[in-house]
C-alpha cells in the first residue's frame, strides 16, 4: 500500500486536496487584488463597483434600496408621532411630506427601449459624446418620454448625470505608467516613471545599507558580551511603541537642520528620506538577523578563532556565506518597507519631482474633481512588479536553508 502511494501516478492525488485548498484560499484572499487588476482595464472607472455594473443604467437595485430605506424611516416617524400624541391625520400629512420629497429624487427604471438604446450607445463612450448623442436621440422620441428620461437620468437639482455609465476596456491605464498621459487630461504629462524610479532608488538604497548595517550589528549582539547589551536590545524593541505622529514633526525639524548644513541630506531629498527609513527600520531587522545568528552553532567559528582569525575575518569568511537566507529576508523586508511607506514620504517630501509612488498615486484617488481609479489600479498593479520580481529572485536563497550549510 505504501509503495503505491509513493508511485508517481498517485502523487498527484495525494497533493490534490492541498492544491485545491491553496487555490481556494488564494482566490478568496486575493479577490480585492484581482478586482484591482481588472479595474485597471477600464479607462473611465469610478471607485465604486465595476463587477456588477452599478454605474450603468440597467441597475434597478439602487432605486429599490432607496425605497426600502424610506419606508423604514416612515415607520420610525409613525412610532414617534404616535408616542408624541399626534392624531392620525397629522401623522399621514407628515409622512407624505417626507415621501414626496424623497421620492422625487429617486430614479426609477427606464423603459425597455430607452434601456436598450443606452446599453447600445452608452457603453464605450465618454460623457460629452454620450450627452450629445442622447440629445439627438431624444428628438426622435415623444416629448413625454423625453421628459421622463430626463427626470431619471439627471439630478433634478443640479442637472448632473445620476449614474456613471462610461465603461471601456483597454490597455490605456497600463500604458499610462510609461507614457504618463491620460486621454481625458490631454495637457498634462505626469512624471510617473520618475516617481517609480524615485521609489526604486530609495528602496534599493535603504535595503542595501540596512542589510549591511544590521548584519554587522547583529553579529556583535549575537556573539559577544559587552556592557549595555541586554538593555540596548530591550530599548530597541520598546522604541517601536513611540507614536509616529509625534516623531513626524521631530524628524521634519531634524531634516531641515541637517539640510542647512548638508543640503543633499536635508528635507525634500531622496537620501534624507532614505536615512529616516534606515533609522526606523533598524530595530526589527536587527532582531531578525540576531535570531538567525543565534541558530548558528558555536562550533562553526571556534576552529577559526583557535587558528587566530580576527573578528572581522570570522565575520567575512565564515558567517557571510552562511547568512545568505537572512540577508535575502532582510533585503526583501526593508525593500518592501521603504517602497511602500506612505506617511513619512507624504510629510518629508514636498516637491513633485521627488514624490514616491504611493504618495503620487494617492493623488489619483484623492483628487476631488475626478477619481482616476482605473489609473490608480493599473499603476499600483505595475508598481508591485519590482517586489514580486525581487521575491522571485531571492526566495531560492531564503528557502535554500541555513542548517544544511551549517552542517556541511
Amino acid at each position: 500500500m505504501k509503495n503505491t502511494f509513493n508511485n508517481a501516478r498517485w502523487q498527484i492525488f495525494k497533493w490534490l486536496p492541498w492544491h485545491v485548498m491553496l487555490v481556494a484560499v488564494a482566490l478568496v484572499v486575493l479577490m480585492p487584488i484581482i478586482y484591482l487588476f481588472a479595474a485597471g482595464f477600464r479607462t473611465n472607472q469610478a471607485i465604486y463597483g465595476p463587477f456588477l455594473d452599478t454605474n450603468t443604467w440597467s441597475d434597478s437595485r439602487i432605486a429599490n434600496k432607496q425605497r426600502s430605506r424610506i419606508s423604514r424611516k416612515r415607520l420610525f416617524l409613525r412610532i414617534r408621532c404616535i408616542l408624541a400624541g399626534y392624531s392620525e391625520d397629522e401623522i399621514s400629512d407628515k409622512s407624505s411630506e417626507i415621501d414626496k420629497k424623497r421620492l422625487a429624487s429617486i430614479p426609477t427604471e427606464l423603459t425597455k427601449s430607452a434601456k436598450r438604446w443606452i446599453r447600445h450607445n452608452g457603453k464605450d463612450k465618454y460623457r460629452d459624446d454620450f450627452l450629445q448623442q442622447y440629445q439627438q436621440w431624444k428628438l426622435t422620441r415623444s416629448v413625454s418620454e423625453g421628459k421622463m428620461m430626463d427626470s431619471q437620468l439627471f439630478d433634478p437639482y443640479d442637472n448632473s448625470l445620476l449614474y456613471r455609465f462610461e465603461i471601456r476596456s483597454s490597455f490605456q491605464n497600463y500604458f499610462f505608467f510609461f507614457t504618463g498621459k491620460i486621454t481625458r487630461v490631454p495637457n498634462i504629462t505626469y512624471p510617473i516613471f520618475r516617481w517609480f524610479l524615485n521609489s526604486l532608488f530609495i528602496a534599493a538604497f535603504v535595503s542595501l545599507v540596512q542589510t549591511a548595517v544590521v548584519t554587522l550589528a547583529a553579529y556583535v549582539i549575537s556573539r559577544f558580551r559587552y556592557f549595555g547589551r541586554r538593555a540596548g536590545m530591550l530599548i530597541i524593541l520598546t522604541l517601536q511603541i513611540f507614536p509616529s505622529a509625534m516623531s513626524m514633526v521631530a524628524l521634519f525639524l531634524l531634516l531641515t537642520w541637517i539640510g542647512k548644513v548638508i543640503p543633499p541630506l536635508g528635507i525634500d531629498t531622496k537620501i534624507g528620506l532614505s536615512l529616516v527609513y534606515l533609522g526606523i527600520g533598524i530595530p526589527l531587522n536587527i532582531w531578525i538577523a540576531k535570531g538567525y545568528f543565534d541558530t548558528i552553532p558555536r562550533s562553526i567559528e571556534e576552529s577559526a578563532i583557535i587558528d587566530g582569525a580576527t573578528n572581522w575575518q570570522v565575520f567575512i569568511h565564515i558567517f557571510l556565506p552562511l547568512l545568505r537566507p537572512v540577508i535575502s529576508v532582510l533585503i526583501i523586508l526593508s525593500f518592501v518597507a521603504a517602497y511602500n511607506e506612505f506617511l513619512f514620504a507624504l510629510v518629508l517630501i514636498t516637491r513633485e519631482d521627488n514624490f514616491t509612488l504611493p504618495v503620487a498615486l494617492s493623488g489619483f484617488m484623492w483628487n476631488n474633481e475626478e477619481h482616476f481609479f482605473g489609473i490608480f489600479a493599473a499603476a499600483s498593479c505595475i508598481g508591485s512588479i519590482p517586489i514580486v520580481v525581487l521575491w522571485l529572485l531571492l526566495q531560492k536563497q531564503i528557502i535554500a536553508g541555513l542548517t544544511r550549510g551549517a552542517i556541511q
Binding site: 465604486y48 507614536p243 533598524i282 535570531g291 537572512v326 528557502i399
Partner: protein, 746 residues
C-alpha cells in the same frame, strides 16, 4: 640586526593595521574639529557642534581601545538609530514639558522681536490721514520719463516674443519684467525725493469730506512736514499748519498722485496721475530685498504715523517705546479687542502662559486656582447609548426640576453668601474649616438631589417617564447628577498678544491629562482598543502566515514558487493604496462588497463593524510579512528533529505543535513583539480608513497635535503611552525567553 628590527617593526605594523588606523584617526580628528568649527562659526549651533565633537572623539576612542573595539560594529546601526529613532523621542519628551503649540513655537527673544516689528493695523478709531505728496519739479520730470520708458521696452520685447512664438509664456515674462522696472523707478525717484525736499500735507478724513460746510472748510487745520527744518532725528516731525499757508509751503513743487483736497491754486500745476503709487510702498515691504522704512511722521502729541498706501498714513498700532533691562516690561500697550488702540496699558512677559500679556490694573500677571461649586449634570442611561439623543429626556427633567422647586431647595442648603466665600480667593487662602462647611452643605444638597431622582418617577410618573424618555432611537433614563466642589484656574490676565513663545511648563501638561476625567477616560478606552487591535492583528496574522508557510514548506508540493509569489501580493502593493481601495470597497451605499451581496451593511460606519473590518484589513495586509518570516524561520529548524521524532512515532500534527511552533515562536518572538509595536502605531491604516470608532492612540494624539493644535499636550500623551505600554513589552520580551538560548563568546 638593524634590518631585522625594521622588518619586525613593519611586520607588527602590518599585523595591527597601524598605518590604516592612524590615517583613519587623523582624518576623523580632522573632520571632528573642522566640522564642529564650521557648525559653530557659520551656523552658530554650539550644541550640535559640541555633540558632534564628542561623538567623533568617542569613535576615535572606540578604535584606539582594543577592549571597546567590538562597539565599532554596532556603531553605524546605533548612530542611525539614535539619530532617527532616538532624537524624535528625546525631542518629544522635551516638548512635552513645554507649552509648544500653535502660536507658541518661537523663542522668547523672537516673540519680542516679532511684537516690536509686528504688523501694521488700520487705525479704526481715528480715521486715517490722507496725504498729498509734493515733490520738486525735476524729480517728477525724471519720474515721468522713467514711467514712459517702462512701457516702451516691454512692447519691443513683446513683439520679439510673439515672433518667437512662445505664446504660452508671454504673460510671465511681461509681469516679471514690469515688476523689476517698477522697482527701479521707485528707487530712483521716490527715495530721493524723501531725502531731499518734499512737502507732505496731511488731511484727516473729516476735513476733506464732501458734505462739510463752506464755513468749516475755511477752518481746515492740516499737518505738514516742512523739509529742512525738522529733518533731523528718526522721524519726520509734523506741525500744525493753517490752510492759508499751504500754498506758500508748496511753492513750485508738483503733486505726485491724487489731489486729496481741491484748491484752485494747486490745480494750475501739472499733475501726474500715478497709478503706481498706491501699491509701491507695500510691494517694497513685501519683497524684503531692502529694508524699507515707510516714512515715519511724528505728530505733536507723540503718535507716530507711517505710510501705508500711497496716500494714506496710518498709526502703527502696537507701538512700543521702551523695554526694561531684562526685556520684560514694555512701557505701552495698544491693541483692544475690537482692533482699536489706546496707550497706557503695560504689557508684560508672562512666563506661565508663555506670551506677552496685559493685566487688570497693570498688575504683574498671576495665576491661581479657586474653588467652584459645579452645578449638577444630567445623566442619561440610554438603552442604545451610541445613537441616543439626550435632549428629550433632559427637557422633561428640566420642567420637573422647576416645578418641584428643586433649585430653591438646593440653594437653601448653602449659606447665603456662598459666592463671596469662595470667589476671588486662591485655594490656599481658604481655611480648612470653611472647606469642611462647604463640603457639608454640598452633602446636604446632594441628598436633596438623590431624593429628587428617587421620587421623580413614582406610581404616576412612570408613564410620563417612558414617553418623555423616548428619543429618536430608544429609551433613556434621565437623572440629575451630583454637585461637586471643583478647582478652576484663574488669572488676572486680560489679553495675551499674538506671537507667544515657548516656555518650560514642567509637568503641567501631564497634570492636565491625568486630572482631567475626560482625558483619562478616552485615553484608557483608546488604549484598550489599541491593545486589542494590535494583539488580534499580530496573533491572527502570525497564525495565518505560519499556516501558509508550513503548507508551502512541505516537501513534494508542486508549484511552490507560484503560490509563494501569489500570496505575497497584498504585501507587494503599497499598503496605503490598498487601504484607500478598501475604504472605497467598504462604503455602505456604493461599495463593491455591499453591491455584491445586495445588502446595506455599514462596514465602516458602525462602530463595532468598523473595528472588525479594521482588524480584518490589517490582517490581510500583514499576513505575507509573517509568511516570509516564518518561511525563513522554518528553514532554520534542523530537519533531523523531524526524522528522529517520526521514528519515535510522532504524528505530523504532534510534530507541528511540539517542534515547529515552539521553535518558530522562539525565533520570531522579538519580531512579534516588534510588530505589535508597529501595529500599535499603525497610523496609516486608521488614518486612511475613515471608519467610525476605529481611532487608536496614535490617531488621537495626531488629531490632538494637528487639529487641536496642542502639540505639547499631545507629546505628553505620547510619553505617557510610552511609559504605560513600554514596561509590558519589555516584560513580555524577557518572559519570552529569547535571551536564554544565546551562543555567546566570552
Amino acid at each position: 640586526m638593524m634590518k631585522k628590527k625594521i622588518e619586525n617593526l613593519l611586520q607588527r605594523l602590518h599585523d595591527q593595521n597601524l598605518i590604516v588606523k592612524t590615517i583613519v584617526i587623523i582624518t576623523l580628528l580632522f573632520i571632528a574639529v573642522f566640522s564642529s568649527l564650521i557648525l559653530f562659526l557659520y551656523f552658530n549651533a554650539w550644541i550640535s557642534a559640541l555633540l558632534l565633537l564628542v561623538a567623533l572623539l568617542l569613535v576615535i576612542l572606540l578604535i584606539l581601545v582594543k577592549k571597546l573595539r567590538i562597539y565599532t560594529y554596532i556603531l553605524p546601526a546605533a548612530f542611525l538609530l539614535l539619530l532617527f529613532s532616538g532624537f524624535p523621542i528625546v525631542y518629544t519628551v522635551m516638548i512635552s514639558f513645554s507649552n509648544f503649540k500653535v502660536g507658541h513655537i518661537i523663542s522668547h527673544d523672537d516673540a519680542l522681536k516679532n511684537l516690536l516689528t509686528s504688523q501694521w493695523h488700520v487705525d479704526k478709531r481715528h480715521k486715517p490721514f490722507y496725504a498729498e505728496v509734493y515733490a520738486p519739479g525735476s524729480i517728477v520730470a525724471q519720474y515721468s520719463e522713467l514711467y514712459e520708458k517702462r512701457v516702451s521696452p516691454l512692447d519691443d520685447q513683446l513683439d520679439a516674443i510673439i515672433d518667437a512664438d512662445l505664446s504660452e509664456r508671454i504673460e510671465d515674462i511681461v509681469w516679471d519684467r514690469r515688476d523689476r522696472v517698477e522697482l527701479s523707478i521707485i528707487r530712483n525717484t521716490f527715495e530721493q525725493s524723501v531725502l531731499e525736499d518734499m512737502v507732505i500735507i496731511l488731511y484727516s478724513e473729516s476735513h476733506i469730506a464732501a458734505n462739510i460746510s463752506e464755513k468749516k472748510k475755511k477752518r481746515v487745520v492740516v499737518y505738514s512736514y516742512i523739509p529742512g527744518v525738522d529733518a533731523a532725528g528718526d522721524t519726520l516731525k509734523c506741525h500744525k499748519t493753517s490752510l492759508s499757508k499751504i500754498n506758500s509751503l508748496i511753492g513750485d513743487r508738483i503733486c505726485i498722485g491724487d489731489l486729496i483736497y481741491e484748491r484752485p491754486s494747486v490745480e494750475q500745476f501739472d499733475r501726474i496721475e500715478l497709478t503706481l503709487l498706491p501699491h509701491f510702498a507695500e510691494r517694497l515691504r513685501a519683497t524684503g530685498e531692502n529694508e524699507y522704512d515707510p516714512l515715519p511722521l511724528e505728530f505733536p502729541n507723540g503718535t507716530i504715523y507711517r505710510l501705508d498706501y500711497g496716500t494714506r498714513f496710518l498709526v502703527k498700532l502696537p507701538f512700543y517705546r521702551r523695554v526694561d533691562g531684562r526685556g520684560n516690561i514694555l512701557e505701552k500697550m495698544v491693541v483692544n479687542d475690537d482692533g482699536t488702540y489706546h496707550y497706557g496699558r503695560i504689557i508684560q512677559a508672562d512666563n506661565y502662559l508663555g506670551s506677552y500679556v496685559t493685566t487688570k490694573n497693570d498688575e504683574t500677571p498671576r495665576h491661581w486656582q479657586e474653588y467652584r461649586i459645579k452645578t449638577p449634570d444630567y445623566i442619561v442611561f440610554p438603552w442604545f447609548w451610541w445613537a441616543y439623543h439626550k435632549s428629550h429626556a433632559i427637557a422633561y427633567l428640566d420642567t420637573n426640576r422647576s416645578r418641584t422647586g428643586l433649585n430653591q431647595k438646593i440653594r437653601e442648603c448653602f449659606p447665603a453668601n456662598i459666592k463671596d466665600i469662595i470667589t476671588g480667593r486662591p485655594i490656599d487662602d481658604v481655611s480648612k474649616i470653611e472647606i469642611r462647611q462647604l463640603q457639608h452643605s454640598i452633602k446636604k444638597a446632594n441628598k436633596v438631589i438623590r431624593d429628587f431622582n428617587k421620587t421623580r418617577y413614582g406610581k404616576n410618573g412612570i408613564k410620563q417617564y417612558f414617553v418623555s424618555g423616548f428619543g429618536e432611537w430608544g429609551l433613556g433614563f434621565p437623572k440629575l447628577g451630583q454637585i461637586k466642589l471643583v478647582k478652576i484656574d484663574k488669572s488676572n490676565v486680560k489679553r495675551s498678544l499674538a506671537p507667544g513663545y515657548r516656555v518650560f511648563t514642567g509637568i503641567r501638561g501631564y497634570k492636565k491629562i491625568v486630572l482631567s476625567r475626560k482625558m483619562t477616560e478616552s485615553f484608557f478606552r483608546l488604549l484598550i482598543w489599541t491593545v486589542i487591535f494590535a494583539t488580534l492583528t499580530v496573533a491572527l496574522s502570525f497564525m495565518a502566515g505560519l499556516g501558509l508557510a508550513s503548507i508551502l514548506n512541505k516537501p513534494g508540493l508542486h508549484a511552490k514558487n507560484f503560490y509563494r509569489s501569489i500570496f505575497i501580493l497584498p504585501y507587494a502593493i503599497p499598503a496605503a493604496l490598498l487601504i484607500m481601495m478598501w475604504a472605497a470597497f467598504l462604503n455602505k451605499d456604493f461599495g463593491v462588497i455591499n453591491n455584491l451581496i445586495n445588502l446595506d451593511i455599514p462596514w465602516i460606519s458602525n462602530i463595532y463593524l468598523s473595528k472588525m473590518s479594521a482588524v480584518v484589513i490589517n490582517i490581510w495586509l500583514s499576513f505575507p510579512y509573517f509568511m516570509i518570516i516564518c518561511l525563513g524561520s522554518l528553514q532554520s529548524i534542523n530537519p533531523e528533529l523531524y526524522d528522529v521524532s517520526s521514528v519515535d512515532g510522532a504524528s505530523s500534527s504532534q510534530q507541528f505543535w511540539r517542534i515547529t511552533l515552539p521553535l518558530v515562536l522562539r525565533n520570531t518572538a522579538p519580531l512579534l513583539i516588534g510588530y505589535f509595536g508597529f501595529t500599535f502605531n499603525n497610523f496609516t491604516l486608521i488614518y486612511l480608513l475613515p471608519g467610525k470608532g476605529t481611532g487608536i492612540l496614535v490617531t488621537f494624539i495626531y488629531s490632538l497635535a494637528f487639529y487641536g493644535k496642542e502639540y505639547g499636550l499631545a507629546a505628553s500623551l505620547g510619553v505617557i503611552t510610552f511609559f504605560v505600554i513600554g514596561p509590558f513589552l519589555a516584560l513580555q520580551f524577557v518572559l519570552s525567553g529569547v535571551l536564554k538560548g544565546e551562543v555567546l563568546r566570552e
